[in-house]
Amino acid sequence: MPTLPECQAFFGRLMQGDAAAADDWFEPGCDHWEVYHRSLQGVYAVTLTDIYPVLRAVLGEGAFGRLSQDYGRTCPSLSGDLHDYGGGLAAFVAGLEPLAVLPYLADLARLEWAAHRLFHAADAQAISLDDLAAGDIQPAIHPACMLLHCRWPVQRIWQAHQGGAVPAHEIDLGEGPVVLLLSRPAFVVCVTPLPAPSARLAASLLEGEGLEQACKNLLATDAGVDLGAALFPLLDAGALTAGGACAGA
């Protein structure tokens, strides 16, 4: 009888397509290891479909299915929690020669992965302009918040697939790079393209700076910047919370 580690290593080879003869390892008539192989491909396909619905819509069901199979073969799962599976899809897509005709797909995948992570990120109460005006708080970046630098304005595609006003086929991706703010003030992820000063302010906040220091950093790079105009998109997106020593006051 092989040892437990030997049995598991053998089964691993079967699951990874290195199918050695299985006859000696299993009882006759109860050697349906391919059920697991097939099931696992299905599990990974469903997982990626849940995380990347827009990428799937753009590619079509057949191409997305092939992509998920290729990805599963190349990038194994590293966690017992399937919510961690699929984070490398953007890099994988970027390296696929046949998809080079759709160069924005990797950015779209990065956007959907970021939205997936934010969906499960920590909760906090977002603050409004009125909260800020009332003082007595030390604003900090909301924990369910991140910045994404994209070569392509993929938020237009993403928003079209969230029931946005612009149909997907009318989207113009020619406007160049964007910085996207992803925020989740309640349970729904919002995607907001940011003007450059707002993006620099958000970057400072995400590095852990308080609002006052983040504003000083922004003024140091652009003395004439309108701080209120830079701050407003962040407040509007629910990207700030009452942090620091006065939290909960």
Binding site: M1, P2, T3, L4, P5, C7, Q8, A9, F11, G12, M15, Q16, D24, W25, F26, E27, G29, C30, D31, H32, W33, V35, Y36, S39, L40, V43, Y44, P76, S77, L78, S79, G80, D81, L82, H83, Y85, F119, H120, A121, A122, D123, P143, A144, R184, F187
Partner: protein, 281 residues
């Protein structure tokens, strides 16, 4: 240290409960159906926040809870995933579940997870290995867990004991309880050719802390535990046998693929409760 099977402020009665699935979140919140308890897949609530945790926070106020893990892979020949254990412990602290369960399976090799419930060879070596792991899990959580029998599509050659003896030994040596999945027993009995009555007769009743009921599908003569159909007549029959042989326990209706309306699951739970009442009469 010995712990009771159930822990926390809301013990789960020997009634039927339903698996909480995200497609039913709004229905649960709006309808608050009168079911005995809920079971949630632990990993679906491993996040830091967001809607899943908010929904479970809300429902936990009205329902006793069981947390059922699908991803720990206790029998893997790799170190136990400490981050996974920590996330499970955080969840237990937050929700104070009456029951916590995992599977008698492995799922991991160095550098790769197979997100499946893979069967162990039933040998004394496997027994020592998995008993040690369950002990570490119970020590980490500070509580007893239930361990569930699988549907298995391979049977390792050279087994030293049948599954029912292995399961009893796991419980006897680790102090864990048994989550007895009756559909899995039926599926394995048909695929492997044993009598499910022998399985039920062999299981030590005092170890059993919960039952699972689910549906299977058939493909090319093989029964597949898809959790994608109603509980079969044969499995209801097995449930009646278990009620007589082992006794009433918290009983879960599971449905994970092609999930129907919540009412369908609740009707299955009502049927299970009817079986318990008929048994008591």
């Amino acid at each position: 240290m010995q712990y009771g099977y159930q822990q926390g402020p809301d013990p789960i009665p020997a009634r039927a409960g339903v698996g909480l699935r995200h497609v039913h979140f709004s229905d649960w919140l709006a309808q608050r159906p009168a079911t005995g308890w809920l079971e949630a897949h632990s990993e679906n609530y491993f996040g830091e926040g967001g809607r899943p945790l908010a929904v479970l926070d809300d429902l936990r106020r009205d329902y006793p809870l069981s947390l059922h893990g699908v991803g720990l892979g206790l029998g893997s020949n790799t170190p136990l995933d400490r981050a996974h254990l920590d996330r499970l412990k955080r969840l237990c602290t937050r929700y104070q579940p009456a029951l916590v369960s995992e599977h008698l399976c492995w799922n991991r090799l160095p550098g790769v997870h197979f997100n499946e419930l893979l069967p162990l060879p039933y040998t004394s070596e496997s027994l020592r290995h998995v008993v040690g792991r369950i002990g570490r899990l119970q020590d980490h959580l500070g509580r007893r867990v239930l361990i569930e029998n699988l549907s298995a599509y391979v049977q390792w050659a050279g087994a030293e004991m049948p599954e029912w003896d292995f399961l009893n030994e796991v419980a006897a040596c680790s102090g864990c309880g048994i989550l007895l999945d009756l559909n899995n027993i039926h599926v394995n009995a048909c695929n492997q050719g044993f009598d499910p009555a022998d399985y039920l007769a062999a299981i030590t009743p005092g170890y059993v802390g919960e039952y699972h009921l689910a549906g299977y599908e058939e493909l090319d003569g093989l029964l597949l535990d898809t959790h994608g159909a109603a509980v079969s007549g044969a499995v209801w029959g097995l449930y009646r046998q278990a009620l007589c042989r082992i006794g009433p326990r918290p009983t879960l209706i599971e449905w994970d693929s092609g999930i129907p309306a919540l009412e369908v699951l609740l009707a299955e739970a009502t049927k299970a409760e009817g079986e318990v009442r008929a048994h008591a009469a």
